[in-house]
Point group: C2
Chain length 592, copies 2
């Protein structure tokens, strides 16, 4: 119906006849003329209706915002004085010689000139998505998937589909369940990831797999969580962890280069241990220069139990964050940070203002200075490289509390003091522990139970599982986990050993993962992979605050869709056919 997109008109088309289709973005009546800004997905262009074109002018007078129209006319250069440099098409305008109203529009329930509520935006999502910022974000998302696919296609990866209707895991509290009609009383589950299927594809010999695929998790939603989200899922055979990292790093670098003209450079790599020690996080934001500095050795003999207790405890940690120029902090501000770290379990927060380094301990200001001596003070200043005007904020508690609290405090201070550099800071985090210890001493996998340990036999793993490192790797960008992966266990004995360490009985393993254990018997190849969160990657790339802003039809924070009113009540007959019934609210233990 059209010859060009609105956003494509430029000086090279002057004097040409073109036809456009789009929406009336704005109409202005000025000096007897009608000016229209016409919008389509590629942008805006100004069009002019002359009153001499009587019939067209009559139609144009009916136009309101968001009418869908088709116009034809001649492209004209605008006079120098009317050039609009803020508009990509601002050097030209269309002199309208034909106008057809394709559809009228009622006044919009959303006001594009103001912030609308999340509820309203989602209810009228098809209008919210007309806003150029949203339209461009979704278009950008499509460009990202396209670039990712091209890279993977060019590198021999096969785009393969795995099932959405799959096995409900007995413990899968976060699984969405789907009742089966043919097998009454039984359920499918929607996959939290295609992990096991992609491993089976490697056993089947497909060598390199990828899929941009929906995954599902029924959990409390946060800003960056949705019931359904999208993964770039990758698995390879006969490649080790380093090769997978190199390949996927190249992919991400290419995508940033191609779509943002940003060179991410070679990604640095850091062990999990170092990340936790220096940044209190397994996904450190390296744009933030603040670090955690361990000082237990300096403080273990002071007469202040808050310090000396944890400093002498193998499970304790004493660390400090130095905030340059932070000595200007008010008492109220310090109290605020103390309350903040309290949320992470810290029972308090010691602090020292460094007023005058040259004065030694006399130059320090703090309620706790009295517990220190000149030597300790000197060591603290030396270790933290504190300067006049800095403040030292202490965490002293169990290792976990200090690491979590100071890790979070570091991010907050970075924001509050404007220390976060405006750049891209990618990072690999490697050498994760295989297991985390739960409070009851049981071990749980830090990633998932199919992750291979680094260079170890089953016997070696069994001997000291708590210390074992895995062959896993996370890609972090600006403090967000973009993706994570690992070398997988391809050896049946090793997989059985891991299940044993996790306290999974043979029966349970057989029940839950029998098919994987079976598959490992038949010449399963070494394999490794990685999965990226596409939504989060796009969110970071376009600078959105929430993954909701890069999804066409997201759910609300209560996992509902205001647009279609989903979820809804089901037809009772359908439930009978499925062999299930809704528990009346009175019998519902959760609501009773």
């Amino acid at each position: 119906m059209r010859t060009h997109y609105c956003g494509q008109l430029n000086k090279s088309l002057v004097d040409q006849e073109v036809t456009l289709c789009g929406w009336v973005n704005k109409r202005r009546d000025l000096g007897g003329l009608i000016f229209l800004d016409i919008r389509d997905r590629e942008g805006l262009v100004q069009a002019v209706v002359d009153p001499d074109e009587t019939a067209i002018f009559g139609t144009a007078e009916k136009l309101r915002n968001e009418f869908c129209i088709k116009v034809s006319g001649v492209v004209r250069a605008r006079p120098e004085s009317q050039i609009n440099k803020d508009m990509a098409t601002g050097e030209v305008e269309l002199y309208i010689k034909g106008l057809e109203i394709l559809n009228s529009s009622a006044p919009l329930p959303l006001d594009f000139n103001q912030e609308n509520s999340e509820e309203a935006r989602l209810r009228y999502r098809y209008l919210d998505l007309r806003r150029p910022v949203m339209n461009q974000r979704l278009q950008f998302r499509s460009k990202v998937t396209s670039a990712v696919r091209r890279f993977l296609d060019d590198n021999g990866f096969l785009d393969m589909e795995t099932p959405i209707l799959t096995k409900a895991t007995p413990e899968g509290a976060r699984d969405y369940l789907v009742p089966s009609r043919t097998h009454k009383g039984e359920f499918f589950a929607l996959p939290q990831s295609p992990q096991l299927f992609k491993q089976l594809l490697m056993v089947a010999g497909f060598d390199r797999y990828y899929q941009i695929v929906k995954c599902f998790r029924d959990e409390d939603l946060r800003a960056d969580r949705q019931p359904e989200f999208t993964q770039i899922d990758i698995e390879t055979t006969f490649m080790d962890g380093k090769q997978v990292m190199a390949m996927t790093e190249k992919m991400v670098r290419n995508v940033f280069n191609e779509l943002l003209d940003v060179d991410l450079g070679d990604f640095p790599s850091m062990t999990y241990a170092e990340a936790m020690r220096r940044f209190g996080s397994d996904k450190p934001d390296l744009r933030n220069p603040l670090e955690l500095v361990d000082v237990a050795d300096i403080l273990k003999d002071v007469e202040f139990k808050v310090f000396s207790g944890p400093a002498n405890d193998a499970k304790g940690r004493v660390a400090v964050i130095k905030v340059p120029g932070g000595a200007s902090m008010t008492r109220k501000s310090i109290d605020g940070y103390t309350e903040f770290v309290g949320k992470y379990g810290a029972k308090g927060m010691a602090w020292i203002k460094v007023n005058d380094v040259a004065a030694g301990i006399e130059g320090l200001q703090s309620p706790i200075v009295k517990f220190l001596n000149e030597d300790v003070a000197a060591q603290l200043i030396e270790r933290t490289e504190a300067k006049d005007g800095d403040i030292l904020l202490f965490g002293s508690d169990t290792k976990n509390v200090v690491t979590d609290a100071l890790g979070a405090l570091r991010l907050k201070l970075g924001e509050d003091f404007g220390l976060v550099e405006d750049k891209w800071a990618p990072l690999w985090v490697v050498d994760f522990p295989m297991f985390e210890e739960l409070e009851d001493g049981a071990l749980t996998p830090l990633h998932h139970p199919f992750t291979a340990p680094s260079n170890m036999t089953p016997a070696e793993l069994s001997a000291n599982p708590a210390e074992a490192l895995s062959d896993a790797y996370d890609m972090v960008l600006n403090g967000c986990e973009l993706g994570g992966g690992s070398v997988r266990i391809h050896n049946q004995d090793m997989q059985a050993e891991v299940f044993k360490i996790l306290g999974i009985s043979d029966e349970e393993a057989e029940e839950k993962f029998g098919f994987l254990l079976d598959a490992l018997q038949y010449g399963a190849p070494p394999h490794a992979g990685l999965a990226f969160g596409l939504d989060r990657m796009v969110m970071l790339m376009v600078g959105a605050d929430s993954i909701r802003d890069v999804m066409a039809f997201p759910k609300t924070s209560t996992a509902a869709c205001p647009l279609t009113s989903a979820p809804g009540v089901a037809n009772p007959d359908a439930l009978v056919e499925l062999g299930i019934q809704v528990i009346p609210a009175a019998n519902n233990s959760e609501e009773a």
Copy 2:
């Protein structure tokens, strides 16, 4: 880990050192040497272990089929006498200088040398998919999606995702339901297609959308149906039906050209009416030369009620299929076909063997010849262009019965008589009726209720809905519907009129499709689209018999997965959390 794929070795690599990873396809011990066929996704290559390489030979003696190994060695040209022309790598072999067993294999539960049961194939799918024929089919599928995506990307289509957790439609008997945890007692449904969402994306101004997307239908399964299947889903704005057809035809032509080196040429187009008249099907297989020939006008005055009844009834039909050379059919064979058409409601099947055209009615052989006269006989022969030795098979009943029965008979005869040409026969079927009349006289949409009528106002549609044609189009290939689409209704009044004709009340329309009706108010653009069945397209292209053979992990005909044992019993706690319970079998009306 490797330098080449097994299937890549050729004469250009002679004398080079290479490293391969793969599976032992076969081991033969011959003349003191060990020969291995090593397999990876790209093919097979022969490797030789010399007993002089003592250590390697010792390892090689342990190898069994399907062991996963890594080998290095030198590529050698085979002596002329040993060249294997059936093998892509048959001119060379690898002289092994290094051998590592990456994983051993237990004896396989599937015998690759024989046909295995569907159950066994699906249970050990990761082994079934190692079979070169299956491996190649799935690889081919990946090539198809890749080619489709490239075409659509290059034509300005945006790859956009629509929700999987969506609204349960009140009448959606074929919806898979998903109980919501946050909204207890309520359900999401898995989409049967993204139809409404893609229309909303057009309203949002994305202009050209596509998605290769899973769709779900909970229904009895046939050879070419699966609970989850994949659509190439396309929608465009400001394009009419012809433009969508041209664009998608070009896409399919490109894919066939690129992947099969087949030129499908320009697709012919046929109206629905003609397709039903000549072929008794809305998806005629044009490789089959047989046609239905209408003869009611010839037979309406004969003294044979079986003919004259339907011939004089506006809702009746009398038609004939001429089978060249079919006069040789035995009585038993004719009885077989009579029984066959019976399945489609035909109460019998009249037939005439044409033994001698020159002899007129005397040359015809049939129990019903006595009801005909010379003139009728001559007209039948002229109309059907029958030759000596042909047979005429009659259908005479209601229009629907004759069309269905002879449409099916035509296909069966084509197969039985070897008449189906070995070629690709694409076709567009167009000008569908808007509605079908149900037995109770109610109208139901032939496609879906968002399909636009051809060139009609709401008032014109209302005046004679049963005769209205829609702006819909199906792409047919070799008698299979590859895809179907239509221009959609973008006008609110027209959509309301269609709902009215379908007997959908305002309340019901509001409840089910309120969001679509809302969206049409706000400058909804003209839009049109199409959806292809990817599974079926790939199945046709690779010559498989079932879509199961082109899906990595399909379900059985009872919608179960023998590999993972899905569906399964859910954790009772999870059901309580979801606010649902399984109806005990005794209370279950279906099973009681």
